[in-house]
Every structure is written in C-alpha cells, then in structure tokens.
C-alpha cells in the first residue's frame, strides 16, 4: 500500500519540475526578457526551458493509465475528450482574458498582462494536450507494429528538433512559404511532415472493426477532423508562437500529425465501408473454421462434430437449414447425422432417401451441387414431401484423403439466390474439416484395434511359453537338449516331456495349424489331453489315437495338429514312436555313420475323426545304440527359408548332424542352429522353430 502511494508520489514529482519551469518562462514573457534582438542568450534559455518542459510533460503523462492502454476504442475516446477539453478551456480563457496580440511582425507580440497570461496558460494547455495526442496516436499506430514505425518516429522527432532550433534562430513562421530565411526551417519541417504522414498511414486497427463500428466511426471522424482543422487557428497559432517558437514548432508538428492521422483514418473508414461486409464475413469464416478445427482436435465423435458443423453453417452462411448425411457402417445408405431447423419428420424422410437423386448426382460428380433457384419443377422432382420451403440449396460431398466418400453436407435457404460461390467454397471447407475429423476417428479406431491384437498376441505368446516344459529331463546314459525360437507372430509349436519314472520318458512334439491366440489355446488343450492319456496308455499309437478322437471333435474344421509321440525305455534302450502328420525323426546311426529319416505313416490330428486316422497310424520301434543321436523337430526348422524361397530341408540337416555328431549335445545344437541361420541369412523366422535332441552317451 505504501509502496503504491510512493510510486504515485514519485510520478507526481515531475510536477515539481514542470510547474516552476512554467512559472519561470512566464516570468520571461512578463519581464520582456526575450525580445532583445538576435543572439540573445536569455531567449535561448527561455526556449530551452520550454523544450525541457515538453519533455518533462511527456515523461509525466506517459505513465498515466489512459495513455498506456492499447485498446483502440479507449484511445479514440481519449482523443475526442482531449480535443473537446482544449476547445472548452481555450473558449473560457478567451472569454475571461480577452487577449490581443500584435501581429505586425513574426513572432507576434503582446503588451497587456492578460494577453501574456493567456499566452502562457494556452501554451501550458497546448503542451499537455499535444503530448496527450501523441501518446494516444502512438497507441493506435502500435496496434500492429511494423518494422519502420520506430525509424519514422525517430526521424520525425529529430527533424522537428532541428526545425525548432532553426525557427528559434531565424524567427521565421512555419507557413511552408520558403521565403527568405524561412527556407531553412520550413525545408526541414517539410521533410518532418513526410515522415509524420508516413506514420499517419498506420491505421490497420480500422480493418478489424465491425461494419457497424466503421459506419459510426466514419461519422465521428468527420466531426473530429473538423474540430482538428480549426484547432490550430482557433487556439494555438498566436499565443503559442508568442510564448515560445520552439513550442510553436512542436504544437504545429503535432497538429499536422493529428490532422494527417484523422484525415487518413476518415479516408480509410470511407474506403473500407464497401468491403466491410465481405471482410466481416471472412473474419467470421476464419473464426468458424478455427472453431471447427479446434473442436476436431478434441472431439472425435462424428455425431457431435456434425452437430457443431451444422450450427456453424447457419451462423456463417446465414442458411435457414443445414444437415449432414453420413454413410452408415455398411457404406450403402446415407443417414442424417445432424440437422438444424429440420423437423423429425423431415429427417425421417431424408433418411428414407427422399433426396436420392440429388445424392446420386453428388456421389457421381464428387463436386458440390448448388441450386440457387429451386423452381416448382425441381421442387417436385427432389423435395416433394418435405415440409420446409426451399429457395436455394447446396450439397457438398464429404471426401476423405483417398477420395473415400463419407457423406454429404447440405445447406439450404428459404430465399432464392441464397448462395454465392464464396458460400459454396466455405461449405466445401467445412466438408473438408468434417472429412478430416472422420478420418482421424477411423485411424484411431484402427490403431486401437491394432493395439488390441498386439496385446492378444502378447498373451498368446506368454501362454505358449508357459505350456512348454521349464526343465530338461534327466535320464541315465542319455543327454537331452531342447531349443525353441518363437516367430513374431505366435506359431503353434509345442513340445512336452512326460516321465513316469526314471526308466521311461515320453517325448511329445507337435505343431498346431494357425497362429496367434487360437493356436495357443489349441496347444493348451492338446497338452492337457496328452498328459492325461499318457497316464493310462503306454504306446504312442494308443496315446495318439485317443488324442485324435477327443481333439478332432473340438477342433475347427480348418484346423489340425501334427503330433509325434516317442516313448523311450531307458533300461532296454528301446524307442517306440508314432507320427501323426508330423515331421519325421532324424536318426544318426553311430555304428553305420549314417543319417536316416524315420517317417512311419500317419495323418495329422483333426483331419479325420477316427477310422482313417487309426488305419494309417503306425508305430515304429528302434533300438538306441551308444553314440546314436535323434532329432525331433518342427517344420520351422526343415522349412526355414532363405531369400530365394528355398527351404533348409532335411538334407542340409542330415549333413550337419553327420559331420558334428561327436560334439557334446549342447554344441551340436548350437552348430545346427548356426547352420540354419547361415542358410536363411537372417536371424528371424516366419514360423516357430522347435528342436529336441536325444543322444545315447557312449
């Protein structure tokens, strides 16, 4: 609070300078100290003091809120108040003091005290008033800052200071006459006026006024201009020139500024009136499109957006009716998504396709269709049955980026010739905005869908990994290694070990046709079924036969599962296995140093409900010799493809096994997989890959 007071006090400290200086300059006049001929130093002191006072007044006034406000209307008001106040004050002073100046020479002279007092008071008023005008005009000019404004302002000030010095020195009036010595100060002054004129053209605030305001201000500006024209002659010419030539120059220059500015503003009002309506409309268009795009970025609901759009159409185009028809999900029928000023019955009729022909026209041409004169014939043809009376109608297609048809936007007026090309363009812009919004909504939908699938895939992958055995079985005299590489899209690879005792091990390997979530669930089902049958049945043939009976009932027609079950009898070093459509078993026979593909007949699970499956399935028995290696794998291994679409194949597999059979099983596994990736040339697969290795230790 005290700080605030102190600030106000500080501001008014300027008055401590302004008022005494005013009194001192008055003393100069009163004592006739300045009329002592050329190069009178006292006179220069007088003029300097006046000039200093103007500067002080500038710094004093510019802090006032009325002069810091950039609001156009406020500044215009202050200009008018300033002008009217000056006229009233001067009028009163004239009435009281009745001044008489001697104008035989320049500057004018005064003998009577009242005239001297008058001149001083008027000069004082002029200083305040003119500085006020400058501040108000500055605010108007800076409404839209342009790069040269400051430059012009500086030039003007410098030139006016020079003019003031020259005028004081040569005592020639600023009548722009260029006689005798007047050529110097008038010359510089003319140049100053050029810059002042340039500054006066800065009235872009006018453009943004409403049409009504432009009319109103035009009228006001005529009166103002009239007031400004007489201001100098009526109030300032003689008293100010008498009091101080420097102040005279300042007042004169400011007056020109005010005059130029008023006259140019008046002209601008006058010139902009014919285009005011168009400009106003364009402003509204811009604003409405802005509104719409703002709404679009936040609002992805097509219906709400359509509603907003129809509202804006009414506002901006002055239409009586507006509605938006959008294609339904199936893309076949148009349905009203939003309507303004239409009855429910009319909307129902539109939904039923009353405008079918009109729609078809727009759909075919993909261009706006406007009827500005809907005569009876057209009315009968297109609008028969609608309750509204239409004089003009425009339909605009709502087209997406890929020329996708979203729907049609309609605007209608009761009057004929309601739509000019501008209106149609604007409606097209609206339609484009709607299309963008709809496109956005579709994209969002798609990305949500993708995200959902991604999540599903993630779940499937987790399910699949959890179904696989977490530990390798331990058997005397045998080593077992496993490897699973999952593809990006979850494949259907599955394997399991079922061990009833240390002497027996069942190896199960399979591949579910199809991918993703369904494959993962079939896999889970298969695991459960096999696990339970393996408890009851000991032969792979029996296990597979029963598994097929159960699974083929629940599998989709298109789905099937390849399975291979091997039973290993550790004590007797025997293996029995059966193959239901699965990849063969690859055997490295150590004694023969040969690789064999063991492929007993058998069809995949799910292809047949029982009879054929059982008839085809055969069990294979084989003795396990020391050093023998057996490979169980899925087609992800044998069908791993290189970029020429060649498959890795069993032959390559056989070769690498034969060459590396002696390696510890872990290393053999690594060698095989390295060989596969060397073949494919990349480390990613398009299908799951599973490999189980079994070796009887030597």
């Amino acid at each position: 609070m005290s700080g605030f007071r102190l600030q106000i006090l500080k501001r008014h400290l300027f008055l401590l300078g302004i008022l005494p200086i005013g009194l001192i300059t008055f003393a100069f006049d009163y004592l006739h100290l300045k009329d002592l001929g050329y190069f009178n130093s006292l006179e220069y002191i007088h003029e300097s003091l006046v000039a200093v006072n103007v500067v002080l007044i500038y710094f004093y006034l510019r802090r006032f809120r009325v002069f810091t406000d950039r609001h156009v209307k406020k500044n215009l008001q202050y200009l008018v108040v300033n002008l009217v106040a000056v006229y009233i004050l001067i009028f009163i002073l004239k009435q009281i003091l009745k001044p008489i100046f001697i104008i035989t020479d320049f500057p004018p002279e005064a003998n009577r005290f009242t005239t001297i007092l008058y001149a001083n008071l008027v000069s004082f008023i002029a200083s305040f008033s003119m500085v006020g005008f400058i501040l108000s005009l500055r605010n108007l000019i800076l409404y839209k800052y342009k790069k040269r404004t400051k430059l012009y302002l500086n030039f003007s000030v410098i030139l006016i200071v020079i003019t003031a010095i020259l005028t004081v020195a040569f005592k020639e009036p600023l009548d722009l006459s260029f006689n005798g010595k007047g050529i110097y100060n008038n010359g510089v002054f003319s140049v100053a006026l050029v810059f002042i004129f340039l500054l006066s053209t800065r009235n872009s605030w006018i453009t943004y006024l409403t049409r009504k305001e432009k009319y109103y201000y035009l009228f006001a500006s005529f009166l103002f201009l009239w007031g400004v024209s007489y201001l100098f002659d009526y109030a300032y010419e003689l008293p100010v020139a008498y009091h101080s030539l420097a102040l005279g120059v300042f007042v004169n220059a400011t007056w020109f500024f005010l005059f130029f500015y008023s006259i140019l503003a008046t002209l601008s009002f006058l010139l902009q009136l014919p285009t005011a309506r168009v400009f106003e409309r364009k402003m509204r268009e811009v604003a409405s499109l802005q509104n719409l795009s703002r709404a679009i970025s936040g609002e992805l609901n097509a219906d709400k957006l359509a509603k907003l759009t129809t509202e804006l159409i009414l506002q901006v185009t002055g239409s009586n009716y507006a509605w938006i028809e959008l294609f339904e999900q199936d893309g076949k029928r148009l349905k009203v998504a939003a309507a303004k000023n239409l009855s429910v019955r009319d909307i129902q009729k539109l939904d039923k396709g009353i405008l079918k022909e009109f729609d078809a026209h727009i759909l075919r041409d993909r261009k706006p269709l406007a009827f500005n004169e809907l005569n009876k014939d057209l009315g009968q043809k297109y609008f028969f049955g609608l309750n509204i009376s239409l004089g003009s109608l425009v339909g605009v297609p709502i087209l997406g980026i890929n020329n996708q048809f979203f729907g049609i936007l309609y605007a209608a007026k009761s009057a004929s010739f309601g739509f000019d090309p501008d209106d149609v363009n604007l409606l097209e812009a609206f339609a484009n905005q709607v299309a963008i919004a709809l496109e956005n909504a579709h994209l969002l939908q798609k990305s949500l869908e993708r995200e959902r699938l991604e999540r599903e895939l993630q779940i499937a992958r987790e399910v699949q990994l959890r179904l696989l055995p977490q530990n390798k079985p331990h058997l005397n005299h045998y080593a077992v290694e496993t490897l699973t590489i999952t593809a990006y899209e979850v494949g259907g690879d599955y394997y399991d070990f079922i061990s009833k005792s240390n002497e027996h091990l069942d190896i199960v390997i399979g591949d579910v046709s199809g991918k993703g979530t369904s494959a993962a669930f079939y896999m889970a089902e298969t695991k459960g079924i096999i696990q339970s049958f393996a408890q009851y049945y000991h032969s792979p043939l029996e296990i597979l036969s029963h598994t097929n009976r159960v699974l083929s009932e629940s599998l989709e027609k298109k789905s099937f599962i390849t399975l291979l079950v091997a039973h290993i009898d550790v004590q007797n070093h025997q293996m029995r296995f059966a193959r239901a459509g699965h990849c063969p078993v690859l055997q490295y026979n150590a004694a023969e140093h040969k690789v064999h593909l063991l492929q007993p007949p058998g069809i995949a699970v799910g292809l047949d409900h029982g009879a054929i499956f059982d008839r085809m399935l055969e069990e294979y028995r084989i003795a396990l010799q020391p050093g023998d290696v057996f490979l169980f794998y899925t087609d992800g291994l044998s069908e791993a493809m290189n970029k020429h679409n060649e498959e890795y194949g069993e032959e390559r597999l056989a070769k690498v096994v034969r060459q590396n059979h002696h390696l510890p099983l872990e290393q053999l596994k690594q060698t095989i997989i390295d060989d596969v990736f060397r073949f494919t040339g990349r480390r990613e697969l398009h299908d799951d890959l599973t490999l189980i290795l079994l070796k009887r230790q030597t």
């Binding site: 199809g514 027609k557 390849t562 459509g581 063969p584 069809i603 995949a604 292809l607 087609d635 679409n645």
Partner: protein, 117 residues
C-alpha cells in the same frame, strides 16, 4: 511380398482352380473365397491344379479340410493335381493322400469325375 493368384475355369460341371505363387496364412482368404464362390454356385466337382504353386503352408492345407465335408455331402469332391515335389511333400507329410485324391495330371482327375467307377 510373394503374390498369390487363383484362376477359375469351368469345364462342364467341373470347376478347376489354378493356384499360383505362395499360399500361406496371408493369401488363404483369396483361395477360400474362390472355393466358396464355386460351392455357392452348387458346383461341387472341383479340381485344384497346383502347377504354378511355389509354396503352401499348413493354413493353406486347412482350407481343403474346411470345405471337403460339404462338397462330399453333395456328391462332389475336391481332387488335387499337378503338385511340385515340394508341395506334395507337405501334403504327404500330413497324410493328405489318405484323405484326398491326388493326381499327377489334371486330365486324370477330370477323367475320374467323368467316369466314376
């Protein structure tokens, strides 16, 4: 990446579908559509010619299983012909020869349709 094409030729009451390119999970819908269309027209005698097919995945095999029941229920059949060794290997591994008639040449399948024993 790899295209797939199915071309349909009708000879009398036998419909022949020529497959070319890659038949995998991504291209299966095209093949399904072609089969479905033929069946919708009540054409149940179908030959699928694999002459120009480079690759078939398990999803591609599933298509046959999806339709065979309905086709056979209407006294028709799907017969497979002109498989490359690579394609035949896939069918063979899964045991399809036990379920489908597979011929080396299209004419053999045609003959079978015209003169059933």
């Amino acid at each position: 990446m790899n295209g797939f094409k199915v071309t349909r030729v009708d000879k009398d009451d036998v419909t022949i579908l020529y497959l070319a390119g890659f038949l995998d999970a991504h291209t299966v819908p095209d093949f399904e559509k072609a089969l479905q269309e033929a069946i919708n027209e009540k054409r149940y005698k179908i030959i699928v010619n694999f002459k120009d097919l480079d690759y078939i995945s398990s999803a591609g095999l599933g298509v046959f299983m999806g339709f065979i029941e309905e086709v056979r229920a209407n006294n028709g059949d799907i017969k497979l012909t002109d498989m490359s060794p690579r394609v035949f290997k896939v069918f063979d591994l899964l045991g399809f020869p036990a379920l489908f008639e597979i011929y080396e040449r299209e004419e053999q399948a045609m003959e079978k349709f015209l003169k059933p024993e």
